[in-house]
Symmetry: C5
Subunit: 301 residues, 5 copies
Amino acid sequence: MLEKYLPADVPAEKRKEFLNILEEVTNSTGRLMLFAGDQKVEHLNNDFYGEGIPADDHNPEHLFQIASNAKIGVFATQFGLISRYGVDYPDIPYLVKLNSKTNIIPYEAKDPYSEQWLSVNDVVEFKKYSGVNIKGVGYTVYLGSEHEHSMLKEAANIVHQAHKNGLLAVLWMYPKGKFIQDEHDKHLIAGAAGVAVCLGADFAKVKVPYENSQFKPELLHEVVQAAGKCGVLCEGGKKINEEEFLKELYEQIHIGGTRGNGTGRNIHQRPLKEAIKMANAIYAITCENKNTQEALKILNS
Amino acid sequence: MLEKYLPADVPAEKRKEFLNILEEVTNSTGRLMLFAGDQKVEHLNNDFYGEGIPADDHNPEHLFQIASNAKIGVFATQFGLISRYGVDYPDIPYLVKLNSKTNIIPYEAKDPYSEQWLSVNDVVEFKKYSGVNIKGVGYTVYLGSEHEHSMLKEAANIVHQAHKNGLLAVLWMYPKGKFIQDEHDKHLIAGAAGVAVCLGADFAKVKVPYENSQFKPELLHEVVQAAGKCGVLCEGGKKINEEEFLKELYEQIHIGGTRGNGTGRNIHQRPLKEAIKMANAIYAITCENKNTQEALKILNS
Amino acid sequence: MLEKYLPADVPAEKRKEFLNILEEVTNSTGRLMLFAGDQKVEHLNNDFYGEGIPADDHNPEHLFQIASNAKIGVFATQFGLISRYGVDYPDIPYLVKLNSKTNIIPYEAKDPYSEQWLSVNDVVEFKKYSGVNIKGVGYTVYLGSEHEHSMLKEAANIVHQAHKNGLLAVLWMYPKGKFIQDEHDKHLIAGAAGVAVCLGADFAKVKVPYENSQFKPELLHEVVQAAGKCGVLCEGGKKINEEEFLKELYEQIHIGGTRGNGTGRNIHQRPLKEAIKMANAIYAITCENKNTQEALKILNS
Amino acid sequence: MLEKYLPADVPAEKRKEFLNILEEVTNSTGRLMLFAGDQKVEHLNNDFYGEGIPADDHNPEHLFQIASNAKIGVFATQFGLISRYGVDYPDIPYLVKLNSKTNIIPYEAKDPYSEQWLSVNDVVEFKKYSGVNIKGVGYTVYLGSEHEHSMLKEAANIVHQAHKNGLLAVLWMYPKGKFIQDEHDKHLIAGAAGVAVCLGADFAKVKVPYENSQFKPELLHEVVQAAGKCGVLCEGGKKINEEEFLKELYEQIHIGGTRGNGTGRNIHQRPLKEAIKMANAIYAITCENKNTQEALKILNS
Amino acid sequence: MLEKYLPADVPAEKRKEFLNILEEVTNSTGRLMLFAGDQKVEHLNNDFYGEGIPADDHNPEHLFQIASNAKIGVFATQFGLISRYGVDYPDIPYLVKLNSKTNIIPYEAKDPYSEQWLSVNDVVEFKKYSGVNIKGVGYTVYLGSEHEHSMLKEAANIVHQAHKNGLLAVLWMYPKGKFIQDEHDKHLIAGAAGVAVCLGADFAKVKVPYENSQFKPELLHEVVQAAGKCGVLCEGGKKINEEEFLKELYEQIHIGGTRGNGTGRNIHQRPLKEAIKMANAIYAITCENKNTQEALKILNS
């Protein structure tokens, strides 16, 4: 059923593996619940310590405890973090985020370049010799940066190498820089999603489109169409009210046509038990065809 | 008959394959109808969504439906897009466009660099293991950019590697940057075409030359002569009136001496059936020795 | 007991070697006393010649005499210096510092880039054919520099290559550049330590956190938590009063939760005998569970 | 007799081939008549179309017709152009110009970087499998450019790789950029020629030295001495009166001590028959020990 | 006796060769007389032609005639120059200077980058197949340049590769750029010498330290101590009075503690016979334990 999502650059001998992964991580729905845990580099310690953030989240192991106890599609984080905790948590379905940058230099001051850290081959070898359960790789592309050309090149290679090795490839598609007026403009987001499919990505994580600073699920239609066979994942963003979050997620998928979500802070900025329940609620909507009410029940169980 | 177009860097054991490809994609005329579908990166979603663009064009599969149902020489687009749809459309004659950039940064603000994404070797391997019907590779060179040196180097290598593997190489030759007064100046376009032949390209896609902002087929004489054994393809540009488009195309070839055309928006910004007919009309003039009236008949059939 | 610090990217056949090294250099405590001797590049001759610096310290061999006679975890310095003295001092436990820069260009004038000099493979080969006792590698990352991306990439690779070869990897994590307000801010230092664990480092050397320009061991809690399984080492900094130094070190470890220290000038800017005793005192607190008084006794013995 | 020009980096098994080439292309005189045909990139179409330029020169094949019918030492042009016409003209003695740039960006606006397009190895392989008659490689170095370091490195490697493969290496040595007051200053040209010999070049193509804007053959003495075993070739420059050109060439060689010339426009900007005769006249002076009168006779025959 | 200067990165099977070279080029004294002949690139033709420079020096062969007839330690020049004259002068002990730049761009205008031209492996292979008598390699590091990181990396690799192949490595250590107040400051020179030993160099060529614009041999103490096992060579600089030069050299070695000198213009800017005698006089002081009077006798013989 998911064979329509099989890219032609997965070689014959890797097709079964690729499709198995796609089935596993999407619970056979083709929709991906991506638990995003790359913020320790992207936002330094801002998302893990401070007002409103529980003590559980101070320690990076919190992410692994959530990922190993909750229902998730994949847990996306940097190779090094996976390596440091992988001996204890080998069975989490990981997506190795291959680039990351800090937030120290403001985007206004300098166009961003987030360079690839390790090769897909490093990941493939590591998967084999460590037994750590790696499902795919991820990479951020900052379209509109003066370094766009480097990131497009790295992204195209990462996607292709991932496919050659039977792994999934997810791209974070974020237009940035002084020529971007509105990151939440649906036409811009659709453009970014279109670039992702031209890069061959399986999924593209994008900003949520707004009209007059407000989300409307219909705004996703242009985006989802532009992405074609590349699944669109809306980013979770800052932590907000649970009910609102889940309702929006439901609409993104069922009205907007997205194929999942990428959520970090809305999950991990909670004590462990709550975080697990929130992840399960998100998973229920994304991959178990539950509606918002059913998901809220899981959250409040 | 097309042996005069055989470059010396195609090795003996690849000459038959190269000439077969050249015959196939030019219908034995030596003229190429290139269906250009790289705009999802180059122009983001602008060419696929908006006023006057039919719903069919919102989805990238539209391009593949046209390419598989119409008569075309090659369908030029990015590797990733081919990969995502290649399982369903393996038989389209593809030309892999090896670089692309977005239009977010204006040319006035920064000299463009459109870097090579994947190697020719990646393409050759992919062709073999996937069975996808690849005929050649393409690449854009922005002459006059401060990054010209990088693109000249990449272009020279791409052409040579393509030939070593029996594939065609098409270069998009676009002078850009603050020292370019008039992109439609015939002398400048002739210069760009001359660079293409020095890079060894089989075909060069160039701007249409204007005099007083008007196309005249005679302006192509300098261009075509400068290009020598490299075939000149005029770009299609923005969508215009069909009759005007086909008449201009006929004159480009039969008065100007071009060896084909590179057309995107004038084909795909139509509902599928119309798009197919427009492609067939263009192909008829380019590769079937039809005149404008005959082509219009195809269009209106 | 130290197996909890085994990263998953150490292959099965290298685990014993890695754990043996970790036990040896930490005296089975998991805490590292790093004798830092990379200042001949980082500070040119400023730390080795001048007012208050004894004649013993004028000659680089002083560092090797200390390292070979005192109790230390590892002696961290550049490959070339190890190579020049390694024939005479093969048994010192070395950590090869793989990058360094001079202090000639002020940080205000230009964002720093300290590039990797040699590969981990060079180090591994050298270890084998020379018999020099190498335990690990080190590298400095200047977060917030416009060259951050290059250093993150090099750091990620160095850590991974070190682990693949059974070696330790220590990162110097120093935010720098015009967007850094306060290098001693605990939240920033915690962020840097968090990046280190995402890079997979075994230990991260960081600045000492201050509140109102004053060290308080409690400030380290956020830092140590953010670093998770990556051990935090506070840098020694400029030479200060011994008692104060040792007291602060004790509190860093026993109140703050750090897993060692990186000390240079506070050791080597002394005549040989005193330097050895100071190193031993630091080692006693770090790796022999001594308290400040016991350490002072060693110092004054 | 030409063994004095054998560089030590030609391996024993390639010495005969190298010396044979040197004898052939210099007609055993050690002097090289280089027919320069790289202007289609360097000057775009300016040298091939326009006032005073005959129709024959509009087509790049003109260069090959001259080179195959006239007496020349080598015909220097880009790999791609050789490749496109090499099947028809395999026997011309070619020198592959390995870098080129356009003239779109003025030297005042940006320091030039003309990057190497293909490797010497590509050329060597191509020579073998195509049977095209390649004698050597060429490269331009813009001394004084901020990219000088890249070009010095590429030049040193090209010369060395050429010699390892028994091929000649010619360097175009052109000081450029805002710190160059006078390109025709003999001391500067001597400096550039001295760099060429330090790069190991067999021949260096340089500007003609002037005193008060006037050529005097004695000005070449410093240049020729500085170049030592590297032969000096004066560039031909813009098309001028034939008699004047040939007289100047004679004096360059017989008074100035140069070892040949690099001439393009003064040959190809003529109808084919005249161009052939002009090339023969230049060759007669350079490689057949004819004087100006004898050469003029050839020209006017 | 010279085994104390054996670096640990010379593999066992290369130690004899390395020590033999060190003995030969230092006449078993550990002191190196380096005849510097890289100025044809570094200073263009300024050092070889002009007022006060004899005709012998106009031709690069002059350097080889001196080097082959005088007593020297090594003759340091670029690979290409060695290659061009190496067939005639294979027995000179050469040191291949692996980088060089011209003096066209002033240091005030742009931070210098002198990039490595060829690899150590190229040199090692060339030594083997040509029989040219190569003893080592050299490289200049401009500390304080914004390109310092590239040069530190190249230097570290060159030294290590040289040692792995049993060759000597000499570094020219020159702080440059707008943050350098006084190139002759002894503390700065000591810093640079300290960097050289951290890079593993066998010898470092440095500026002569001044106090109030005057050389005093005692100023070298800090420098020599900082360099440790890396021998300090003072550069010769501009041509000065012979007696003064030799006296200063004697004091550099016997009071200052340097281990040789790097002299170019003070040797080659003389007619051949005088140049040979000057080289012999310098060698006598450096490597034959002669005093100034004895050296002057050689000079005036």
